[in-house]
């Protein structure tokens, strides 16, 4: 098992990074009925971990017994019936899914699932909310007659889906509690946000990441040279998941650790670094053609296009003069926006590369003749 999974805190009490939030959540679910929740924050900040720990807090260990299902829904959409397929993760008390996987038909998913869940609500709690005592552990858990629905990536839902989510939320709030999870709350409509308790999960600081890495190192019985975990944390871009993954990679590559051991970058980052040097060296149609092959390579390996563009910008910014930085970041924002509106990502990334070449070339000519 990977360390990221092995050392994922199971309960709200074990959480190392967002202790204050965890304690507040605990209070929230033990005191009274739980409202709808919206978790937002950058990736690798611990949203999912907190949600799973929260479910465990409510339902005890039964929340961990999940099964993966590939479900098909028949949806009646006016004149025709649509078949929708989606993977769900469910236990007796909760269902987790990413409705945005259904693409432009996402709004049917939201409506159908909630309706269906309202029909098959858990029977063992017999309606009323009360306290269930787990006979084995002696712990008391609140039993909700509502099922919990965890929706991932709500920021990627279409406007229509968000509208229908909002209506369904009000209509069926007696039967289900929603836990929404997303990266940027700007993209979630105000109507949804105002109906949920918003919980912001910030990315852990480098010191916090160091603390977690040291904790894992101790559990694994590793000897860690001083400053080593700090270097990993610095390269992690404040993503805890990423830090733990590269910590484990280092462990596999070379142990005992040495204090100057290199921390391997991700393959795709290395690749984008090469692309950046390529276009800094030569600005010509031929070079553009070569770069296109590399961009395709990244895309077929499922690196999201906006990540490619952002990383490319990051690499370019490291090498440019101040005035050029302004211009390049402006065009990066411009082409990323166009990419969102368009269909083929490669066009827009390539357009950015071509634009960069033209800016850089005219800068070189003006400066060096």
């Amino acid at each position: 098992m990977l360390w990221v999974d092995k050392y994922r805190p199971k309960t709200l009490d074990q959480v190392l990074v967002h202790q204050d939030i965890a304690q507040n959540l605990k209070k929230l679910v033990t005191e009274e009925d739980c409202p709808h929740l919206l978790f937002y924050g950058p990736s690798g900040s611990g949203k999912k971990t907190l949600i799973m720990a929260l479910l465990r807090q409510i339902f005890g260990s039964s929340a961990e017994k999940v099964k993966v299902e590939n479900k098909t829904w028949k949806v009646d959409a006016g004149s025709r019936t649509i078949d929708l397929e989606l993977t769900t993760l469910s236990s007796t008390n909760h269902v987790e899914l990413s409705p945005s996987d259904a693409g432009f038909q996402d709004r049917y998913i939201v409506q159908e699932i909630i309706k269906e869940m309202a029909k098959n609500r858990p029977i063992d709690t017999k309606g009323r909310k009360g306290v269930l005592v787990n006979l084995v552990s002696g712990n008391a858990y609140l039993a909700y007659d509502a099922i919990f629905l965890v929706l991932n990536e709500v920021d990627k839902l279409s406007r229509e889906a968000q509208h229908s989510l909002r209506r369904t939320m009000e209509k069926y709030s007696a039967y289900c509690r929603l836990i929404l999870c997303c990266n940027s709350s700007s993209k979630v409509s105000e109507a949804i946000r105002s109906r949920c308790l918003n919980v912001r999960i910030n990315a852990p600081t480098e010191e916090q990441i160091v603390k977690v890495l040291e904790f894992i190192g101790k559990k694994e019985g590793l000897q860690i040279p001083s400053g080593f975990t700090a270097r990993i944390a610095e390269k992690s871009n404040r993503s805890l998941r990423r830090a733990i993954l590269s910590f484990e990679t280092c462990r596999v590559q070379q142990y005992p650790f040495t204090s100057n051991q290199a921390i391997p970058p991700m393959d795709w980052e290395e690749y984008i670094f090469e692309i950046a040097s390529d276009i800094m060296k030569e600005q010509s149609p031929k070079r553009l053609y070569q770069v296109r092959q590399k961009l395709y390579e990244l895309l077929v390996n499922c690196i999201p296009p906006e990540i490619i563009l952002k990383r490319l910008l990051y690499e370019l910014l490291k090498k440019l003069d101040a005035e050029l930085k302004h211009e390049v970041c402006r065009w990066a924002a411009y082409y990323e926006h166009r990419m969102r509106l368009g269909q083929k990502a490669i066009f827009h990334i390539e357009a950015f590369v071509a634009k960069f070449m033209s800016i850089y070339k005219s800068f070189l000519i003006a400066t060096f003749g």
Binding site: P35, P42, S185, S186, A333
Partner: protein
Amino acid sequence: MLFYGPPGTGKTTTALAIAHQLFGPELYKSRVLELNASDDRGINVVRTKIKGFAAVAVGSGQRQGIIEPLASRCAKFRFKPLSEEIMSSRITYICNQEGLNLDAEALSTISSISQGDLRRAITYLQSAARLFGSSISSKDLISVSGVIPQEVVDALFAACKSGNFDLANKEVNNVIAEGYPVSQMFSQLFDIIVEADDLSDEQKARICRKLGEADKCLVDGADEYLQLLDVAGSTMRALCNMPEEFSYN
């Protein structure tokens, strides 16, 4: 009747109160139909369901959205955003009823962050009470409301003023890592810029135009980091009187 005004100013509450007054509790159920037209139910629902009902009260967020032939057939009532005093007195009343403790600072914070929207104020209050218990400070309210702490906004603005691109980039990265919503950052930046005394009108106009463009891009689903960085860059160029256009073209 046509009720219009911003959210949380009591349009629905007034309409329902009128209905209650007219019909009393028994008849109320059979005589009142509440529809949210924005629920894109289409023309059919409006036609078929409303037929059986005589009087129609219409509530609207924006007056412009109502076509003139409809507006001219209604008695119009405008609901203004609530003043801070009204807000505070209502919040104090709720606090007393629910046994919550709010100090003077928290009270003024809640009135200002909810911007005349009482529903929003009550939601914030309830969320804060659920998370933090019965003693609520101004900081607790800010954390549940999603408003960005002023020092974070100030730090970004100062970085733009410094003219150092890398510094601004660092602040932008920080805002994203902390998970603050960028749309909220835009509106708070906008407040700073509009109120600033030491900026020329041209500088303000340049920045505001960029904010508008970036806001539209965000709605289209553009990346938050890139948009904020672009805004920070443009703001810096305006504040430091750098040319708007790239000089090597």
